[in-house]
Symmetry: C4
Subunit: 211 residues, 4 copies
């Protein structure tokens, strides 16, 4: 297979533009505070563009990205260090051929709901569930698993991968006390999933306020 | 009646401008997440301009709209697909001659309050009720019915229509676990209704916090 | 006393600029939804500039203001109708010579806290109390009276005035289920009072969340 | 040691730029309402640039800053009055050689959580803890002490200093009913601490909402 440098350059340019716009929108909502979160976009058979470690997601520029392989290893000798969570992105791309973008955020309802004594959040009865790819009815039951946190991100990626193997229909997973991972066939679809899930978790937390 | 193309073109242009501005404002508040919501404006005896399916409401352009009749059927052969909820807009225009704009949002308090075990939300004692067309006192009792959700939008439009026939004084209705429908004699009036009702539902949810 | 038209024109220009900026800031925070709220600025011995009825406070232009006397009666034959609550502004200017600006908002914590079964909100122990004019310590006890709502705004202005006569040290008052009135020696000071009080009411509502 | 005026001018210029950008971001989030909060940046061995008293933090210009020594005394004869809390900044710079910026905010969750009957907030189990300088795991236990408020800021600075001597590993402290003080090796690091801590306090308050 001939390597087409011009095509990849074009894919990188578009990925940077889309992910930077996503970062500005999420930052304005308080979903990536304190340089948290990380974003990626698949740009080839064996290549992913990912945000570098410690970048402010509301102000992403081309210099804040680098290319990695599906194990999370950098493809270029020079350039910034990848996010420590790069293997978690790879675990998603390896399992789901349709996944072309992965977004990870620390949004408030997302993080608050991950702290309960349970191993999944079950969502049903919401029209907003239809924002998840392939869902066609509010009667859909979406189970978002919660994976325990682990600072060894290779081990965490393996645990998350095992969880995804057991729940292949989930559109996302939570890491306890940490945040949300979701993906999509495009940056737009992955972003739609983030917006829908943060909204749904917020509704779940707030419905208890009613008398 | 002669068809006046120039007048309709002018009406479409103004409707796009007003609805796009509404979309930007609602998006900034988080009221139309994940491409949710849909907006329409009556532009003639038998024609309505409505947002296309799956559009991002914070970034509406003329290409995101199409013309439908009062049953929700597209009036043009080419162009985008209407929102699946187009019949719900028609059900409102058919019943209320004064309705010239319909707005549907998935705002957080709106959705959270629709989830209780009840068939209506009753609001009274708020000065903000006067933002609803024709209401002149905080002593007004506004009953906002809650209609069960249904993926068959023709059936849902019929159910919502029956509900509107039973409660013709309501300024809006909720669909359970879904969102809010409201309308007005102009885009500005319908937008005022959205802002007032989301505020009132938020107050209803929060008053329980007091000790 | 010679009437100095040039001075008044200058005062009006500055008042419009300051109140429009205040409106944009409050609108972005959701404190004046659905054309609610009204603002005024004293521009002479017997003249006040006030927002017209039904204006969108986030988009104020010179055409959205008019001159009234201290009873709330328009001073010009032509021009827009004053807010129905104009007499409430006069009641404040008549009582407090130092009051040069009055701001009325429907902010969420403000409105939610006005709904309890009590006739005042007492605030103490907050450093933020020092944002209220003349307060020098967090040990200050600020009592914000709650006046019952009334659609007869002349009667409401009289009731609010009587309340202000009984609690002359208060920096603001609430109308039940309605909103907040506060004032200051400048638009900046009145705006500081709005920001401080909405923050303090929010803290009062939220402190109950702690375990 | 020769005094290098050009270097200091450069340091001041950069400090103003960074702190003004921080102020705009914090103001948009509602974290410095009603001219509250104050910011500083160490610009030399014995000199700190600090915001003047009563400034609006969302609109900082060079005229809103002045130079003080580590006791909080102004270094220039002319110019604005320093914040009354200048000695609290000095108490931090004196203790931590690595502290080059200090940020103080009145953010809502920060203030609400400071009001409980306790003398510290303990945070653990959150990935976001890693936004605090030197923290490498969510298992880290961060104890943020709460110091009682005092209008005598020299006495308050001494009390806060004593507290910092007892808890030298803390990344911040709260003043009861008042707000947060945190610091960093740069404005960016101190800002990261503010964003992380407000997020974590918000999660602590909200986790109680779950059933």
């Amino acid at each position: 297979m001939a390597h087409d440098g011009a095509d990849e350059a074009q894919a990188i340019l578009m990925a940077v533009t889309e992910l930077a716009a996503t970062g500005r929108a999420f930052s304005a909502r308080g979903w990536v505070p304190a340089t948290s979160g990380n974003f990626s976009r698949r740009i080839g058979e064996a290549a992913v563009l990912v945000t570098a470690s410690g970048t402010e997601k509301g102000e992403l520029t081309p210099a804040d990205f680098l290319r990695i392989d599906l194990d999370g290893a950098p493809l270029d000798e020079l350039g910034p260090r990848p996010s420590a969570e790069a293997p978690l992105h790879g675990a998603i791309y390896r399992r789901f051929a349709g996944a072309r973008a992965v977004l990870h955020v620390h949004a408030p309802a997302t993080t608050a709901i991950s702290l309960g004594r349970r191993d999944a959040v079950t969502l049903t009865g919401y029209e907003m569930l239809k924002a998840l790819a392939g869902v066609t009815t509010h009667e859909h039951v979406e189970t978002i698993p919660i994976v325990p946190n682990d600072q060894d991100t290779t081990r965490l990626a393996a645990a998350a991968g095992d969880q995804l193997d057991r729940t292949p229909d989930a559109h996302a997973y939570l890491i306890a006390g940490h945040g949300l991972y979701t993906w999509g066939s495009s940056v737009a679809e992955a972003r739609r999933h983030v917006e829908a899930l943060e909204f749904l978790f917020e509704c779940e937390l707030r419905r208890g306020e009613q008398r």
